[in-house]
Subunit: 175 residues, 2 copies
DNA sequence: TTCGCCATGTAATAGGTTACATGATTGC
DNA sequence: GCAATCATGTAACCTATTACATGGCGAA
């Protein structure tokens, strides 16, 4: 029973397993892709490594299917639940998120903003559309958390579009 | 002369050394803190490790002070310049930045948004004020890149404030 | 002149990414 | 019946973070 440090990745896995009850790494992959991944994406290999780490520390149990592919199935333990809940309601530090955008990095160092802006605009507009469809799909459900964070995503996409449209010399069409 | 993979960290170091001509890791630290760090921060230890890596690959030269602290001084080589310039004007992929915000993560997983929102609001409002002061200081200078990216930072801070103010049940004061 | 912080670094660890690999399924 | 893609994983590498450490210098 090793003592490990819990990272955001850990809490994502714990959180997903709280909802799912039991899941294989592949299931987790699908869950990430469908929701939280928009906000905080994970490599699929982490979804193999991280549950193992968490199981080693007593936060998850690992079982193997008997027949067929003998896939690994993970469930959260009471210790895992407690830890997750404690994290959920713990106060959070004051570290703010960073933009960490490659395009912005180039602009900072003097790159010609036009071509960058044009590419970024396309990508962000597409992402915005995707979010808006997701919003449709989620409306009417009771998923308060995901609906709210999706709203954050939409707001920031609009802000990016504003910014890059300006640099591209376009008018922001306010979509 | 090893072949290494260049990361955003690498380009930040190269970019700073293009401007500075010559610098110690400590100088780099100060430069990061004063500008690009708002957008993409680095641990100070990376500013020791990364230049060494870059020097090993021929992108920088490393010299040591003779007397005193015998600090390491780095300058960019022609190969470094070329590589940096090529990166600056290269097309960039379509990966979009992610929000990666811990508060948002908690909201997604069902945390009570109120206390989170209140804390985040304070932090973001402070950051916004800091940016606005920086903007004053930069206005009138010819630093187009930094001025532009600072604008992006301000826009996103405002967006965060809008979002969290809503969750906090406050009215956004539009500062 | 001593305390404390700024300056300057090294070493170990670990988390995350990249590369590789192969067994099932499904569509044609 | 074969190709392509989905599903499932392992291993190596390496970047980035954490922890530790010490010399100078300014202030009290």
């Amino acid at each position: 029973m090793k003592d490990i440090r819990l990272t955001p990745t850990s809490y994502i896995v714990l959180g997903l397993l709280m909802q799912a009850g039991e899941a294989t790494p592949y299931d987790l992959k699908a869950m990430v892709a469908g929701g939280i991944g928009n906000l905080w994406s994970l490599q699929h290999t982490q979804l193999y490594a991280e549950p193992e780490r968490l199981a080693g520390a007593g936060y998850l149990t690992e079982t193997r299917e008997d027949g067929g592919r003998r896939r690994k199935l993970y469930s959260i333990t009471p210790a895992g639940r407690d830890t997750f809940r404690a994290w959920l309601s713990a106060e959070l530090g004051s570290e703010l998120p960073e933009l960490r955008d490659i395009g912005l990095l180039k602009v900072f160092f003097g790159a010609d903003p036009r071509p960058i802006a044009i590419g970024q605009l396309r990508a962000h507009r597409e992402k915005l559309r995707e979010y808006q469809e997701l919003e449709q799909a989620l409306s009417g459900t009771e998923l308060a958390g995901p609906v709210s964070t999706l709203g954050a995503g939409i707001g920031h996409e609009r802000e990016w579009i504003r910014y890059w449209a300006d640099l591209a010399g376009e008018d922001d069409d306010h979509t």
